[in-house]
Amino acid sequence: MLLGRVMGTAVCTIKYPGTEGVKLLVVQPLNKTLEPVGGLQVAADVVRAGPGDLCVMVRSREAALAMPDIKFVPVDLALVGIVDELAVQPEGEFELVMRRGWNPYYGKGQP
């Protein structure tokens, strides 16, 4: 699952059976610091997001499961949540590499 920003809408007049009525949005996948990752993609919308919204997206087979009725549809990216608040700790706050030997992780935030 990943973050994405809605950049626009895509309109299709001819769609595969089962995907009629599903809104298609053009999204930019983002990382945790909201920097773009890769190019624009098209996602199916089930949460009524609009342009400019920051969203949670799901990829692969699970995107089709987000559809309201028919779950066996050719969809590989879906918006499943609209983000109200994103709180990410700054880089370097936590140890993100594992070293040889024991790496104890008990205790909040302790490497």
Binding site: N103, Y105, K108
Partner: protein, 89 residues
């Protein structure tokens, strides 16, 4: 499954019904020394994990649906364990 550290939280009021009453967390996978870390992602919490915790994350849909006990959940990444320690040879 992979090991990662919880580095953030995501709050959504409008979301798919499978996400209700569960927290979404930003997870940064742990890497080994000298190699670039994998890209961060969002995971659904099933263990009451918090920011700073090292967690075990299932990144596969069928396992996630079993954990959530919902055969139609549009979820791929789900946190299934809190890691106490890791030993590397």
């Amino acid at each position: 499954m992979i090991l990662g550290r919880v580095v953030g939280t995501v709050v959504t009021t409008i979301s798919h019904t499978a996400f209700k009453n569960r927290r979404l967390l930003v997870v940064q996978p742990l890497g080994v020394e000298g190699e670039p870390p994998d890209a961060d992602f969002i995971a659904l919490d099933n263990t009451q994990a918090g920011i700073g915790d090292v967690v075990l994350v299932n990144r596969e849909g069928n396992g996630a649906r079993q954990v959530l006990n919902n055969p139609d959940a549009p979820v791929i990444s789900v946190i299934v364990g809190l890691v106490d320690s890791v030993y590397l040879e």
